[in-house]
Amino acid sequence: MFLIAGKTYMRIILNNTEEEIIANTLTINELLRYKNFTFRLLVIKINGKLIRKEEYDTAVVRDGDNVVVMHLVSGG
């Protein structure tokens, strides 16, 4: 974590891209809102661990975490 102009930032890897976000921590739902992910069904992992949909309000993303978000859409 680091400070710029008095604001705390955290640095995470989101889908293989480094992101700097103004926050100490974020829940998954907060991260999805922050990044404007609008897809309804997702596979999400924090540091390789699957986060189930029921955990999106409680699972926390912290500085240094590696987050993967994959989109599921119908069709096959």
Partner: protein, 203 residues
Amino acid sequence: MQVKECMALTIEKRLGSITVGIAGCGGLGSNCAVALARVGTGHLILADFDLVEQGNLNRQYYFLDQVGQQKVEALKNNIHRINPDIKIDAYPVMLDPDKIRDIFQECDAIVEAFDRKEMKLMIAETVLIHMPHIPLIMGSGLAGWGNNDQLATRQSGNLYICGDESSETSDVLPPLAPRVGIVANMQANVVMEILLGKKGTIC
């Protein structure tokens, strides 16, 4: 032995001893299963509750005279016309977490080939939580036509996802043979890469 012969024998030997599960035998599953059969995959486990319908023939590996047949049985017959030596278990069932764990537990890889995204999430959670050692190769985003270069493969641990992750089937964006076939073959290609290693590394 020449490299070419070694390669052919090694591919045959390696793939001949593996088992791949196909969860859903629609556009993705039927085409992926046929690709895996053609390269000599030894054992395929097919699961789908559905019957072949005429509307399926725009993308699925069935024939007009098979309309009305159970998909897993029709696909088994079609694969055996290509290679009668492939062992095939056909389950005409609607998959749920318990059946997935039961039917696919001995697989070396599982191909997710459902139509509905809710089913895609269900198998992702089931395999990642209860069978994390088995690679799961999913298809997501294949409706419509064109945009070849949007189709990609992403990996996170033992989870692979093939497709553009955005184009969803709808009344104006149907699933069609070319794009569905591309993604189905991408999934088969990932299975080969997982089980054989990267190009040029087996001889």
